[in-house]
Symmetry: C2
Subunit: 216 residues, 2 copies
Amino acid sequence: MKKIDAIRIFCNTFLGGIDEELCSMMETVTAVITKKKGEIFFIEGEHGSNVFFLISGLIKLYKTNDEGKEAIIHFVKSGEIFAEILFFLQNRYPVTSVALEDCIALSIDSKKIEELISKKSKFAMKLIGALSKRIKYLINMLENLTLSDLSTRFLNYIKTLAEQKKSDEIVLPVKKGDLAILLGATPEAFSRMLKKLKDDGIIEMEGRKIKLLKMI
Amino acid sequence: MKKIDAIRIFCNTFLGGIDEELCSMMETVTAVITKKKGEIFFIEGEHGSNVFFLISGLIKLYKTNDEGKEAIIHFVKSGEIFAEILFFLQNRYPVTSVALEDCIALSIDSKKIEELISKKSKFAMKLIGALSKRIKYLINMLENLTLSDLSTRFLNYIKTLAEQKKSDEIVLPVKKGDLAILLGATPEAFSRMLKKLKDDGIIEMEGRKIKLLKMI
DNA sequence: TAATTTTTTTGACCTAAGTCAATTCTTTTT
DNA sequence: AAAAAGAATTGACTTAGGTCAAAAAAATTA
């Protein structure tokens, strides 16, 4: 993919329209990055200054503790920016990011972004919007994790998917084991919970396909 | 407290210096708010457009579920902004905020802030910085909650306090029951955990005073 | 398509932390 | 200082979900 095309997609998606001046300003501070499934964009704690915009593919953002246990923070889908806190913390990545599918991304050098922010207030506003959305998402994760049990967390998750797709039949976007960890559980507990929902007639399931039977 | 003084404190703390032009721009979009202990700034889900900067006092940000169970997101200390996602989501507050002590705050009308952001890029940069810090804080909360047990979460918490105060003797800033909930536990479990840390010779405790004996 | 690897499911067992109730200790109010 | 209210602790019991191991199913690769 050519850089200018990537920048245009970014402009369109992130700013809601092409701004030729902004596109040309971005030429010098961006690069197109491709990663194959399993490859890593950056590792938690690593120094860096690049913020990314995912054009195609799927990415897992996670943290690991000393014993290698994972805490999955988010699955990045195409059209999203990630590592956006590097705009401020020109410093260390707070999480690790791995490609779950082959990916194309636009990397943006945050060291040179201050000029962009000051010249293009629309860019600043959109960035503030993106950061706010991420905060809202994280607050919601925290609330779910502390106030709800696993089946409720899962049902909240698929209800959101169902609303987005306007259908009560959804396909899990990642493998069950990873979804379990996103929801703060083990694959074993997740599997048992799914079985219970099936037995109780709340969902139908075939592989990653889930049909919501009752809206609780 | 006079509004202009509050604005000056905000400017100094948030922007790292007084900017007379910005101060006068803020005159028309701000107000000084005082709340007594126990009073509420805003309730989760409530419509509003005010972002707050806490000048003095202490605030609890939390969510409640249907059964009245609390998930505490953060304790706001003086010098911090809160409800900062309202800059974008001119919309609904994501959490409830209650004064744990008598408070003075500066409220900023986010509807009229876009002009400020576009004219003062330093303001935009600082705001992006504050949002990024909040994201980092929340990611850390999530990681702790999913990867660590209660005693580890507590020790991480007081280690941070100890580093800030550069002392291994700290005073818990809130009552133990609230701290328990911030750490995703019940007051009972928290109390038992503290007893265990004391019995194991890891901390000394007298009321809210905690002394870290071993740095694990 | 067979072989290999990865993912998911199931079983048996365990444990951290929740629940509910009763005390004790502390703070606030009268 | 006494009374009342709120916070913290302790006890007894329960449970959601963790752990480890093995089997079954699905997806990759040869």
